[in-house]
Symmetry: C2
Subunit: 217 residues, 2 copies
Amino acid sequence: MSDSGHCFSEDERQAVYRAIVERRDMRHFLPEPVDPVVLQRLLAAAHHGPSVGLMQPWRFLRITEPSLRQRIHAMVDEERCRTAEAMEARQQEFLRLKVEGILDCGELLVAALMDGREKHVFGRRTLPEMDLASVACAIQNLWLAARAEGLGLGWVSLFDPAALAQLLEMPEGAKPVAVLCLGHVNAFYPAPMLALEGWAAVRPLEELVYTNRWNNP
Amino acid sequence: MSDSGHCFSEDERQAVYRAIVERRDMRHFLPEPVDPVVLQRLLAAAHHGPSVGLMQPWRFLRITEPSLRQRIHAMVDEERCRTAEAMEARQQEFLRLKVEGILDCGELLVAALMDGREKHVFGRRTLPEMDLASVACAIQNLWLAARAEGLGLGWVSLFDPAALAQLLEMPEGAKPVAVLCLGHVNAFYPAPMLALEGWAAVRPLEELVYTNRWNNP
């Protein structure tokens, strides 16, 4: 398939697929803290993410003050209620779901887009949102590394970004895009929690792959 | 650290980090085709990505018609020139970079956001762009799996999304977000190509991690 110099062994290949397949968006955590050495490895994994024009637009905030964690939780709960109101038919069903583990997880992080992004034109002239795509790739690195470390992670996006930016004293132009709950877990869900809870079904891959033009199988 | 039921072995853990650290945004490819069985594994890895509210907003188009590949290449080259014009001081430096491998790679894919996303409110009422974050996570899965398979991938975002959507007959509301060059490579760059080329330096991680508030180390 390719020369041996850059090949992964069969076992290595399987390990990468294992992390991909067994990673879950976690909402249930055990309270033990995350080892700082492990946290450092996870943040380094994020920082190995790809970025458009190598702009490295990601910033990570560790939330260590309990009062700040409480305020972030309150902010997310407020948006949870507003989202429920916007849902009409599925409101009650949505309110029964556990959508975050902010008060339970061992480590709370906020991921944000840096300020001063407008000068980065490389790969962004027509698609300025590629900076968010880069941050998402960094988070996915962190997520998979966490799974390999036996730690769970949940990405929460139920918040008002302007209010959270103000709370964390972000400068004009910076924007929080993820509240990340990280920590030990009792068990990883055997399938995506929202599938287990009947919120949505995992779609067959073949419905999402086309050839040469849209909807062409 | 956690019970053995969900633990990765040390070797498995190292393999996941190896994929994360050795993944590169590739621009140089060998012409051999990608094994369809491997391609299927990579697309399945993407489809194991997390998505906001389990909306699974990703769509992948395989580009198998040579004429279509040529037209996509022309479209990207046009945007490359427009980006150079927008760059002022670094224009010549930018034009010397190899920014895509569309005509060289074994397999060309386009990743897109599906149409009909406005009804998905879960995690998106205040952050509608979370659908793009989900597609980016799916692509990062594919990217890491490709690395483990010994294949290179390059994410190209130098195109006019409306023009590419029209070329691929996308419905109103769908949007292409990545031209993905996938294929065999002679070697993976030892560091990000844009760092090797002197376009930008990799920043120290500690500059990008704060505690409790912005810029607080």
